[in-house]
């Protein structure tokens, strides 16, 4: 749940760069603070085809 929310937040917050109509002024103000969240979003995107990996990630378990 937490992981999903962080992912959704990042996608919406940087939306103006990926085609969502969020005002660019909001994105620009948030970007410097979003480093960790964006890393999380990218990791999540990389695990899209790996459901077990995603589950372990959510549970903070190392393979």
């Amino acid at each position: 749940m937490y992981s999903e929310l962080v992912n959704i937040f990042s996608v919406i917050a940087i939306g103006s760069f990926v085609g969502l109509p969020v005002p660019a002024s909001i994105t620009i103000r948030l970007i410097p603070l979003l480093n960790e969240d964006i890393k999380h979003m990218i990791a999540k995107a990389n695990r899209l085809d790996d459901e077990f990996g995603d589950l372990f990630g959510i549970l903070n378990m190392e393979a």
């Binding site: 749940m1 937040f9 917050a13 660019a24 002024s25 948030l30 603070l33």
Partner: protein, 304 residues
């Protein structure tokens, strides 16, 4: 004076309505009408297809030009507004990401100028700069649709910020619970993103309050006695009332007393309390230059 309003004029006055109803002519008329009563007046056009200079019979550009001792006019250039706005925003990004300059990556930030809605953001931001000055500013606008998008911008920002704040608060709440369980004691998270979002919402609320303050901001809705412009006016008034923005007056342009009495009566009964400015039917191609505008001004009637 065109409107003997007891409250006085708003600091920033938007003149809006459907395309071709005479917004530019009225903006020019209004500026000439109030100039004798105000210390400093400015009339600017934000319509990309500018005609303010044509109506005032003066060549205008992005830089303000003196029309009378206390009246100046300009036709704002959208490209310059977007560039100025982005320069400010890009500087912020470039300062944040100093390393990118070394790699000559900063030019990639320039792509922001193509971000959707950036023009509305830039124009809205520029209009807010007028609230800081002790000058009555009359703004001649593009047709209703684009104008509403510019005017709605702070409300759109507020809506996005509200949703992002709700989502972020949920994230922070969950993080606090997870960390508290891990640490075995109550942990409070100081979330910089939530703080920034709340700060932005406060800034946007200030802007919305300015637009709702009749001393600061008001709108003239211009129409002509024809079906579509009248429908457009009705929709515009609904939107403005929803936003709680003051409607200074309805301008019924090209009014012919014998032909359009019914239209006037309908507007009067539908919008009681809003003054109506009647501009008599005229050949708009003839209303060019200060002298002719002042001549037309003498024929303008106001029903309060």
């Amino acid at each position: 004076m065109l409107l003997s309003s007891k409250e006085g004029l708003s600091r920033v006055i938007l003149v809006t309505g459907k395309g071709g109803v005479g917004k530019t002519t009225f903006s020019a008329l209004l500026s000439l009408a109030i100039a004798p009563y105000e210390k400093d007046v400015r009339v600017v056009s934000i319509d990309p297809s500018h005609h303010l200079g044509d109506v005032l019979e003066t060549e205008l550009s992005h830089e303000e030009r003196k029309i009378l001792d206390n009246l100046r006019a300009a036709e704002l250039n959208m490209d310059i507004l977007v560039e100025n706005y982005l320069r400010k925003e890009s500087e912020f990004l470039k300062r944040t990401y100093k390393a990118t300059s070394a790699l000559n990556l900063e030019k990639f930030f320039d792509v922001l100028k193509y971000a959707p809605g950036i023009e509305e953001e830039a124009v809205a931001e520029h209009l807010f700069s007028y609230f800081k000055e002790d000058v009555v500013t009359i703004v001649d606008t593009p047709p209703t649709g684009p104008t509403l998008r510019i005017l709605s911008f702070p409300w759109i920002q507020e809506m996005w910020l509200q949703k992002l704040i709700e989502l972020r608060a949920k994230i922070v709440g969950l993080k606090e619970s997870i960390d508290s369980i891990k640490m075995g004691k109550k942990v409070e998270i100081d979330d910089k993103i939530l703080y920034e979002l709340l700060k932005m919402r406060e800034e946007v609320s200030t802007k919305i309050n300015l637009l709702r303050d009749s001393k600061e901001f008001g709108v003239f809705v211009v129409t002509i006695p024809e079906r579509l412009p009248l429908l457009d006016m009705e929709r515009l008034i609904v939107e403005l009332k929803k936003k709680m923005v003051k409607i200074i007056g309805i301008v019924l342009n090209k009014y012919n007393e014998s032909r359009d009495r019914d239209v006037l009566e309908r507007i009067r009964s539908q919008y009681q309390g809003i003054p109506i400015v009647l501009i008599p039917s005229h050949d708009s191609s003839n209303i060019i230059g200060k002298e002719r505008l002042l001549h037309l001004l003498r024929e303008v009637k106001v029903i309060e």
